[in-house]
């Protein structure tokens, strides 16, 4: 416990990961195990789970009950929505986006994946690589999660057999070549028994590449942000209008890419006007440079008209500016996509209207085949489309930058978020 001491905070990193898998894969059990073995579960929480397990007639403490928060989920024994869990070790703080893995919950998986540095993909060692594995991996790659950890679970039910593990590993690696996944690792575990989750397994001496917890603690995440292309969407204009700060005008925002230094020449889009950074301000005073994901306030040397929705970049490295984009979208609503309707498109701090001009194809998330003869885009459909906006968007391809390459679609009648997209 000494490791959590007050001096430790300076060295802690934040890792966000998502878990994909169904109840049957033991996903909830795995999360329960991570929380339990890292001592992130408190006595009163454990007490509540014990009580509930006995009531349900379970033989052992049902760790899955720790994560199923809503009443209807506990009643039905399923996970409906994305739930966020938190735990910390002396090395890192973790945020888990816990999502249900059934095909009808593709939208939840996409949601959980959108902010993750890493994805945990669960495979039942008895079943090997299945359609579900394909689906989960495809979504992780679509959302450009930088790291994938394949957890081959229930090793206790295959007698901790090395050959079974290796066969699954090779089959997955072969499949991964067919889609855009760069960094993936494998770990054989038993979430129920605790093998290789936090403590190394005595049952699998043939494996020595670290427990799941060790992998999570040491994954190299420093380069998950884009530090190359300087991008600064203006979020809010700060004008104090007080005697003390009479002429102050600061452009508040969160750096979406690259590094900005005091004195750098910048270009404001869409106007194209150039200026220089006169100061980078924070509550605690001026700083010399800023990078993602910092929230700061920029002042420029010239008095130019800048508002929310504008983007500050550098003249030698500009984002694309266009009213026509191609994107992969995931539909999030029961009401199907209507190509004759206008939708609101939110992108960085910008809001425009748009129409989906063309549905190029749909993607079968299980077989990854492109479907061109059926153009109905309904709940959980993933499709490649062409979109035309009423005003130009200032963007990058999603593969280059997750912030400037993503958008959401809103139904003007209900104001619901009905679709999300990644720009090609």
């Amino acid at each position: 416990m000494e490791s959590f001491s007050h001096n430790g905070y300076l060295d802690m990193e934040l890792l966000r990961f998502t878990t994909a898998g169904s109840v049957d894969d033991g996903k909830s059990t795995l999360i329960g195990r991570l929380l339990y073995d890292s001592k992130s579960i408190f006595e009163d929480q454990l007490e509540a789970v014990k009580k509930a397990s006995i009531q349900k007639g379970n033989d052992y403490i049902n760790l899955a009950l720790l994560t199923d928060g809503l009443r209807s989920e506990r009643e039905q024994g399923i996970t409906i929505d994305v739930a966020y869990r938190y735990f910390a070790t002396p090395k890192r703080k973790f945020i888990i986006a816990d999502t249900p893995g059934h095909v009808q919950y593709t939208r939840n998986m996409v949601t959980g994946a959108s902010t993750a540095n890493a994805a945990l993909i669960l495979i039942d060692a008895r079943n090997g690589v299945t359609e579900q594995t394909h689906r989960h991996t495809y979504i992780a790659s679509l959302l450009q999660i930088p790291h994938i950890i394949v957890c081959i679970n229930k090793m206790d039910l295959v007698d901790y057999d090395q050959k079974t593990y290796e066969e699954i590993r090779d089959k997955f690696a072969q499949f991964a070549q067919t889609i855009d996944v760069k960094d993936f690792l494998f770990v054989p575990i038993s979430a129920l028994k605790g093998d290789n989750v936090v403590d190394a397994s005595a049952n699998m001496p043939w494996y020595d590449n670290g427990t799941l917890m060790e992998i999570l603690e040491t994954l190299h995440i420093e380069n998950d942000y884009n530090f190359t292309d300087a991008r600064y969407p203006v979020q809010y204009v700060i004008r104090p209008l007080t005697d003390e700060h009479h002429d102050y005008r600061g452009y508040a925002g969160r750096v979406a890419g690259g590094v900005f230094n005091k004195g750098d020449e910048v270009i404001v889009l869409p106007s194209g006007i150039k200026s220089k950074i006169s100061s980078i301000d924070t509550f605690n005073g001026e700083i010399d440079k800023t990078f993602p994901p910092m929230s700061v306030s920029l002042s420029l040397t010239d008095d130019i008209d800048i508002c929310r929705g504008d983007m500050i970049a550098k003249p030698d490295n500009m984002p694309e500016v266009s009213q026509d984009i191609e994107a992969t979208i995931c539909w999030m609503n029961q009401k199907p996509l209507n190509t004759s309707r206008k939708y609101v498109l939110m992108h960085t701090s910008n809001e425009v209207k748009c129409m989906v001009k063309e549905i190029i194809c749909k993607v079968n998330v299980n077989t990854l085949e492109e479907i061109i003869d059926d153009k109905e885009v309904g709940l959980n459909t993933i499709a490649k489309v062409k979109i035309r906006t009423t005003k130009p968007l200032i963007f990058d391809a999603y593969k280059r930058n997750r912030v400037t390459g993503s958008f959401i679609l809103i139904d003007e009648a209900t104001n619901e978020t009905i679709g999300v997209g990644m720009i090609s």
Binding site: M1, F4, S5, H6, Y9, L10, D11, M12, E13, L14, F42, E43, Q45, A52, G69, L70, I80, D81, A83, Y84, R85, Y86, R92, K93, R107, N108, T111, S114, T115, E222, Y225, Q235, Y236, R239, P240, T242, E244, Y248, A252, G253, D281, T282, F283, F291, P293, M294, S295, S297, R308, V344, S349, R402, V403, S406, F407, I408, N415, E416, T417, V420
Partner: protein, 301 residues
């Protein structure tokens, strides 16, 4: 290559500032709820950071149950003066006097649930279209599924099964007439993060978070403070103990921790060693396993 890395507290800080600025940009009449507890103190601190050198572009709202620790009220008034913020107080006593809320009876009577009526009335009276709150997802199971931008219908109710998807950092604050939002800028913070951040930023805290002597009594394993409106059972004895608050609600539902922690460092060490969640000492959650979910659906914080 240079080291472009933020530690977890600075990353959380940046995310929260982004969310608070997004509220100011997307809504016409925002308000920030302020209880005097550590979470809302940190949230106000983050809001100051978000708009510096300008003042907060929205008022603070305190829902006063009339059962507050005096130290909390003193802290509130000092803070408001120091940062030049506007303060609005919604009174639960007024709601009761007007017959809008009915006082609970019995030994465990609390005005905690009644706050919802006062909160919704105050929101309507001032035509606020969004209220920011200091709730964290790690506090309780039902909160684990709460969005940063949480949509409320015209009755202020939350529908957990029909929440808007929330992806990346794109927040959809669009709404129809009469509807409003609750926004939770520190959703991703844990209790430990909050205290570490208070230490990092050297934020001044109300004295009741530190150890002090207080008249208390024990009820079902919890130490509760003695106050004129607290009814004691015959079996309950008043004792003088060395305690501190781990969480601050109103007096009727705030369990006190036996503690000698007198500095932020000692509080952090104590939290690292505790084996009970902070809401474990909150009476309001013990009523049933789904107590929080039920109150949230009605429009609770």
């Amino acid at each position: 290559m240079e080291n472009y890395r933020l530690n977890h507290l600075r990353e959380l800080e940046s995310e929260s500032i982004y969310v608070i600025r997004e509220v100011a940009a997307q809504f016409e009449r925002p308000v920030m709820l302020f209880s005097g507890g550590k979470d809302s103190i940190v949230m106000v601190h983050l809001a100051r950071k978000a708009f510096a050198p300008a003042k907060l572009p929205f008022p603070l709202l305190h829902i006063d149950t009339g059962h507050n620790f005096q130290e909390t009220l003193d802290y509130r008034d000092d803070l408001v003066k120091k940062i030049g913020a506007q303060l609005i107080v919604g009174s639960v006593q007024e709601s009761i006097d007007q017959g809008r809320a009915v006082e609970e009876k019995g030994y465990n009577a609390s005005r905690n649930v009644l706050q919802t009526v006062t909160l919704l009335d105050t929101i309507e009276k001032h035509k606020f279209d969004v209220a920011m709150g200091g709730a964290r997802r790690d506090e309780e199971k039902a909160r684990a599924k709460e969005r940063f931008f949480s949509h409320r219908d015209e009755f202020g109710q939350w529908d957990p099964k029909n929440q808007r998807p929330e992806l990346w950092n794109i927040f959809n604050g669009r709404k129809n007439m009469g509807e409003h939002f609750r926004v939770f800028p520190i959703s991703n913070w844990t209790e430990m993060d909050v205290w570490q951040y208070i230490l990092l930023e050297q934020i001044e805290m109300p004295s009741i978070y530190y150890t002090h002597q207080r008249e208390v009594f024990c009820r079902d394993g919890n130490w509760l403070a003695v106050a004129p409106f607290m009814k004691l059972k015959d079996s309950e004895k008043v004792e003088l103990k060395t305690v501190r608050c781990r969480t601050i609600g109103d007096i009727t539902c705030t369990g006190l921790t036996l503690s000698t922690a007198n500095s932020l460092e000692e509080i952090i060490d104590e939290i690292a060693a505790t084996r009970v969640t902070e809401r474990g000492s909150r009476w309001d959650d013990k009523r049933s396993d789904a107590a929080m979910e039920d109150r949230k659906k009605e429009g609770y914080f």
